[in-house]
Amino acid sequence: MKLFPLALMSSLTLLWGIAACQSDRIREEAAKASDFVQPGLVAWNAGGLEGAKQAASVSGRPVLLVEVFGQLDRVHC
């Protein structure tokens, strides 16, 4: 009978640990998600260079391609 409280404590500790890990993971994912930012106010073509070329063939406007190191839509780009 003395083992019951010990087993209960162990289970609770395990559950608390899992919950803590889960909340850490959620926090990490939230932090990663918050790293995304709007890449300026320009209406960038979602299809990249090829998409912009296709749009240019219709609109007659020239293509403007910005090449960067990193990502324009990240905080640390």
């Binding site: 020239p62 403007l64 910005v66 190191f69």
Partner: protein, 263 residues
């Protein structure tokens, strides 16, 4: 951030089909200060702006960082002539470039728009051909592989000029026609670091990039991009340390080894 300027963004949307892409990862530096504060920022965030036609023909290439005013002016000059003429009369007001140094490049870049960097490049290529007969002569029209070229110098350089140029120089009453300086004089002071970066991008890097483009106006963005990064921006995209290893750690190259050294 350049692309967060509402006026510039709206103007870009109205005149171009805009796209962006990443060409590699950027290095992030993190400094932990003794008081517990942390500073984190990116390093080496160079960018290149390309303007091309729907078939991929390059119209202009703008390496480096510019402020809004310079960037807008450079893009405006990159527009085809009919698009420039279609701009409202007041569209250009307040967007002048660096005292008129900038020249448009449409329909195809020529050496005239390179402020001497095209001639500098021609001299470099001629020297390469002289040192390596396998490259053939200029008459062979055999293109020089861009990876054989050395990066452009970061300052204006003296360039020997040919006899024809000497006569032209004399005609224009230049006292010493033996050499001339390639590039344009850099102002001694700037309002802020971004203004200096803008001047460098517009008056130094842009003409150098055009000189490379003039070697082969039909070259694709994919083929020219690595050369622009290496020769103009002095940034080797193949270097896993993004060119920062020696700059950050000086002669302590041992710290940069990716694998621990064996005893």
């Amino acid at each position: 951030m350049l692309f967060s300027n509402p006026e510039l963004a709206a103007w870009m949307d109205a005149n171009f089909e805009c796209a962006w892409r990443s060409v590699g990862d950027v290095a992030v530096a993190r400094i932990d200060f003794p008081d517990g504060s942390v500073m984190e920022r990116t390093l080496g965030g160079n960018l290149i702006t390309w303007v091309c036609q729907a078939d991929g023909t390059i119209l202009d290439v703008l390496p480096g960082v510019m402020d809004v005013r310079t960037y807008r002016h450079a893009l405006q000059e990159a527009l085809p002539p009919d698009a420039q003429e279609a701009l409202p009369p007041d569209a250009t007001e307040g967007w002048e470039g660096w005292d008129g140094w900038y020249c448009g490049t449409f329909p195809a870049p020529t050496l005239d728009f390179t402020f001497g960097w095209g001639e500098y490049l021609a001299n470099e290529i001629e020297a390469l051909r002289s040192s390596d007969p396998s490259l053939g002569s200029q008459a062979d029209s055999k293109p020089i592989a861009l990876d054989r070229l050395r990066p452009f110098p970061t300052r204006s350089v003296p360039l020997p000029i040919e006899s024809f140029d000497v006569s032209v120089a004399k005609f224009e009453a230049i006292e010493d026609p033996i050499i001339r300086w390639v590039g344009v004089p850099k102002p001694e002071t700037f309002e802020d670091p971004l203004a200096e970066d803008s001047w460098i991008a517009d008056c130094l890097l842009h003409p150098q990039a055009l000189a490379l483009l003039a070697l082969d106006p039909k070259i694709s963005i994919e083929d020219l991009s690595p050369a622009i990064y290496r020769l103009v921006l002095h940034f080797d995209v193949r270097d896993p340390h993004l060119g920062l290893g020696r700059a950050l750690l000086g002669r302590s190259d041992g710290f940069m080894q990716s694998e621990p050294s064996k005893p």
